[in-house]
């Protein structure tokens, strides 16, 4: 996992994973625990250690119900659900890789094509 | 050496001996940074700070003056900071009335346990004063440097 992604996850989640004191209350409270390969406390721990690759490929990302029980009960205010969400976004945004790059665009341009359509297309393709 | 053209304000901080000076010490003990622009003068109680001292600081070239004392109710001398609060509120209001930038003056309550607060207050105050630039409205031209 590269450093950029790690920083990106910390930034988008707004969570300081270093506040975790490893009490496991997040996992103790998680209703989806049994469905998950990686549990909430592991998300926090692995993100802190920079070990994100396994998380990105794990189904656990989609088992989180975002019920926020862990956020509510974490005694240190770490907010694990936000970490899971950030990793999920990191995975989602990577998928497909169907972004247009600026140098691909001139060839596609057409004088009759309205400006708005180009912008809309950008939006569509970058998903 | 690199020449730093950034404006470096002179900040005078009056700190009461029992709370804020100890709070400043604690921020040092905890290695919490704040700019070197802040120079602390120890007074027994915030109520020792005479408005004359504040004006004197501005006269001699200070760009900001901050007074720190015990939290209301926690004064080592029971009531000193309550008097401070009234005096300094009125004085700051008067300076504001004369058109002196109100962000050059501040009063904060910092306890002996609030080292982190002391550093945070000083950081934000130095930022405020830097934004205002040099004190020109209440300076003595004869005391201007250079």
């Amino acid at each position: 996992m590269n450093k950029f992604d790690l920083e990106w996850i910390n930034l988008t989640s707004g969570v300081n994973v270093r506040k975790c004191m490893r009490c496991g209350k997040c996992s103790a409270t998680c209703p989806s625990y049994d469905e998950m390969e990686y549990h909430p406390h592991q998300f926090v721990y692995m993100v802190e250690k920079g070990n994100i690759e396994p998380l990105l490929g794990s189904d656990s990302l989609y088992k989180c119900l975002t019920c926020f029980a862990c956020v509510e009960r974490c005694p240190r205010g770490v907010e694990p659900a936000k970490v899971v969400e950030a990793v999920r976004l990191a995975a989602v945004r990577k998928q497909g890789g169907n972004h247009l790059t600026p140098d691909q665009i001139p060839a596609m341009l057409d004088d009759d094509l309205p400006q708005q359509a180009i912008v809309t297309a950008f939006r569509k393709y970058t998903k | 050496m690199q020449v730093n053209n950034d404006f470096q304000p002179v900040i005078v901080a009056f700190c009461c001996n029992w709370c804020s000076y100890a709070g400043a010490d604690l921020s040092g003990t905890n290695r919490l940074n704040y700019p070197a622009n802040v120079k602390i003068i120890r007074v027994p109680c915030s109520c020792r700070v005479n408005p004359m001292f504040i004006l004197r600081a501005f006269q001699k070239g200070a760009d900001g003056v901050i007074i720190c004392g015990c939290h209301p109710g926690d004064c080592h001398y029971t009531s000193g900071n309550y008097y401070t609060r009234r005096r300094i509120t009125l004085l700051y209001s008067m300076l504001d009335f004369l058109g002196i930038e109100r962000n050059r003056t501040r009063l904060e309550w910092v306890s002996a346990a609030e080292g982190a607060k002391f550093a945070a207050v000083m950081n934000s105050f130095v930022d405020e004063v830097k934004k205002l630039g040099p004190n020109r409205r209440l300076e003595d031209l004869r005391c201007r440097k250079q």
């Binding site: 496991g24 | 020792r48 926690d74 009531s79």
Partner: protein, 663 residues
């Protein structure tokens, strides 16, 4: 002409790493009046002090500036050094270039600049320092102990042992505090009552100790050696001098449905009550919130049955005033109420209890006579889950950010006692960390695991769900096996955080002592003066200063007593000579200063003055009593004519500092 010596300390690398001390010494050597400017590795060391002393003698110094750590650390050291070679100690000034310079700045250039400026300010100030002589004020040979728990009792016993009178003020009807509620003590498992109650009796019988139970401190005036304290003796509607503690009234009282606070509300008491059998003083108290006689004038049974006529429904709060030389604060702690944590179901399930409640449930004098039964159906619990760190180490508003220190050990004790007495009971302890620093502490915890088979599980309980069949589903995580557990429990015990007593905050205000953000009293120095507050004459004992177990509390209580005795044996104490004084020639006698003086140190007298035209005029002028003045300086600013000034922090000294900093 002033002859000033400047001494710049390296403090090892504490200062020298970020401040160029040689440059500071060099820069300050050019200041007016400075005749010698030196730097040294450790100025506070013996040889460092000798350096200062020799310089004073050799250069006939009239003022000394030490650029070193905070004056709160070593001002006294250098003042004493100066005095030992004949220089008035108040001619020494400290420039704080460690706590307020080298430790907060990283850039050597700017830190050095700042250190020079701080040094210049100190030199400018010392130019205007005047030699001061400290006066003396007498010490009242009596101590006050606020709080009658084990800390207060121990402190009072030790002070009394030294032969001084000591008063205990306790807000409850009996002394004893939290320890009286505890069943057994760790790590020895001896009975708390067996070791506490003899001390309570000893305190009651000691001729030097006066116990004011059911009383509160309502006002504190004065200063070290001479405090005047007003004690409110709350109306207990029973004449303490007559009541024999026979307990007949408590048997006959018809109002029997009052929650018993001594048993944590787990059973009931009567409206007239004695908290527990070994209460000291053993005197009944009527609870006005429940007594029918006091509420609507109907009943009066207790008065009829009392053979000594001790019941007095007309009693009112009384106030007594007493002078003390020293005050010891021993206000103790309380467990927090865990009702804000919905996940632990404390407020909806009677079988979820706090640890202190468990103490009462297991106590022979408790609601079940010592048999551990579930509060809900009085059945024997077969599975008990302990939850650690409830409200401790919490970053949110529901709990406390600190470790409550005692929970790990008392939980091990509870688990062990339960397994000992009821071997058929399974005990689970969910922990984040097990903290057992202390003599025989870790051995004790290991015994709970190894000999008693207590299941310690690394992880936290996430949810406690009472079920309709009376069982409790405890959902928790086991971090080491990485699984989520569901335990079918009969009882859940919460190790709740402890917090300072609610009376501590207003008391701190009265005593003008400092508290930290958690309302624990702040000690004068975290390492070197851990039992004194920063306010002279106010001494701290027990858990009011921070979480403590019983041996630590007793140790600190005795230390507090030593500090109090050290004060009381003196006939007089040296006053702070940095007091206010008024220039009679300028004083208008307007009384502004008198109004702001918190100590009543300022009085007025009519004095005759020779006028320039050779007539005499009588004017009203202020004078300050230096033994009473504490040197706050409020008067100096209230004075419009500038007649009032403060020794050691005079107008001209502070302005000289301002000038030096702004130059």
């Amino acid at each position: 002409m002033q002859r000033i010596g400047v001494f710049v300390c390296h403090c090892g690398t504490n200062i020298a790493a970020t401040v160029d001390v040689k440059a500071v010494a060099e820069a300050l050597s050019h200041e007016p009046g400075v005749v010698i400017s030196q730097d040294y590795q450790y100025m506070c060391s013996e040889s460092g002090q000798d350096l200062v002393k020799n310089a004073i003698k050799e250069h006939k110094l009239t003022g000394v500036v030490v650029c070193s750590c905070s004056p709160r650390m070593h001002e006294n050291t250098f003042r004493k050094a100066a005095a030992s070679v004949g220089l008035n100690p108040y001619l020494v000034e400290i420039a704080n270039i460690r706590e307020q310079c080298s430790w907060i700045h990283k850039d050597i250039a700017s830190a050095t600049d700042k250190a020079v400026i701080l040094g210049k300010a100190a030199v400018a100030k010392v130019h205007l320092n005047a030699p001061l002589t400290a006066g003396e004020s007498p010490v009242v040979k009596r101590a006050l102990v606020i709080g009658g728990g084990i800390a207060g009792i121990q402190t009072a016993l030790d002070i009394a042992e030294a032969g001084f009178d000591v008063d205990i003020v306790e807000k409850e009807p009996t002394i004893g505090g939290k320890m009286a509620q505890i069943d057994k003590t760790f790590p020895t498992l001896d009975c708390a009552a067996c070791i506490l109650t003899p001390k309570m009796v000893e305190a009651a019988q000691n001729e030097h100790i006066t116990i004011h139970s059911f009383s509160e401190v309502s006002d504190v005036k004065g200063f070290v050696g001479n405090f005047t304290v007003t004690i409110k003796k709350k109306a207990r509607y029973v004449d303490e001098t007559k009541c024999t503690g026979c307990g007949l009234c408590t048997e006959k009282c018809p109002m029997k449905k009052v929650p018993n606070e001594f048993n944590m509300g787990l059973d009931n008491r009567t409206a007239v009550y004695i908290p527990f059998a070994q209460a000291v003083p053993k005197v009944a108290t009527i609870d006005p919130n429940y007594c029918m006689m006091l509420k609507n004038g109907k009943c009066g049974i207790c008065s009829k049955v009392c053979s000594v006529g001790a019941i007095d429904y007309k009693q009112t709060d009384r106030f007594i005033e007493q002078k003390y030389g020293a005050i010891v604060v021993a206000t103790g702690f309380n467990p927090i109420k865990p009702d804000k944590y919905n996940e632990f179901a404390y407020s909806i399930c009677p079988d979820v209890v706090t640890s202190l409640e468990l103490e009462r449930l297991m106590n022979a004098a408790g609601p079940n006579g010592g048999t551990l039964l579930r509060p809900s159906d009085k059945t024997h619990p077969h599975t008990i889950v302990f939850v650690q760190c409830v409200g401790s180490r919490c970053d949110d508003e529901k709990g406390k950010p600190y470790c409550s220190k005692i929970c790990c050990m008392y939980t091990a004790k509870h688990a062990m006692l339960i397994r000992e007495k009821y071997p058929d009971t399974e005990v689970y302890v969910f922990y984040i960390d097990v903290r057992t620093p202390g003599k025989n502490f870790d051995e004790f915890y290991r015994r709970a695991v190894e000999q008693y088979g207590v299941h310690y599980i690394k992880g936290m309980v996430g949810k406690v769900m009472p079920r309709s069949d009376g069982k409790i589903d405890v959902q928790a995580s086991d971090l080491l096996s990485n699984e989520q557990l569901h335990i079918n429990a009969d009882m859940v015990v919460l190790a709740t955080a402890i917090e300072p007593d609610k009376t501590a905050r207003p008391l701190a205000t009265m005593l003008t002592t400092q508290m930290d953000t958690n309302d624990f009293f702040t000690e004068a120095h975290p390492k070197l003066r851990p039992v004194e507050s920063a306010t002279a004459g106010i001494i701290l004992s027990g858990a009011c200063q921070g979480p403590k177990d019983i041996p630590e509390t007793v140790a600190q209580a005795s230390a507090a007593a030593a500090k109090a005795i050290g004060l009381l044996v003196k006939n007089s104490i040296t006053c702070n000579p940095c007091v206010a004084h008024s220039d009679e020639l300028m004083c208008n006698g307007c009384s502004s200063c008198e109004k702001v003086c918190p100590y009543g140190a300022i009085t007025y007298q009519d004095k005759e003055f020779r006028m320039p035209d050779r007539t005499t005029a009588v004017r009203r002028v202020a004078s300050v009593n230096p033994a009473v003045c504490q040197g706050c300086g409020a008067c100096t600013v209230a004075c419009p004519s500038g007649a009032m000034d403060l020794n050691g922090f005079s107008n001209s000294q502070i302005m000289a500092e301002v000038d030096a900093i702004c130059k």
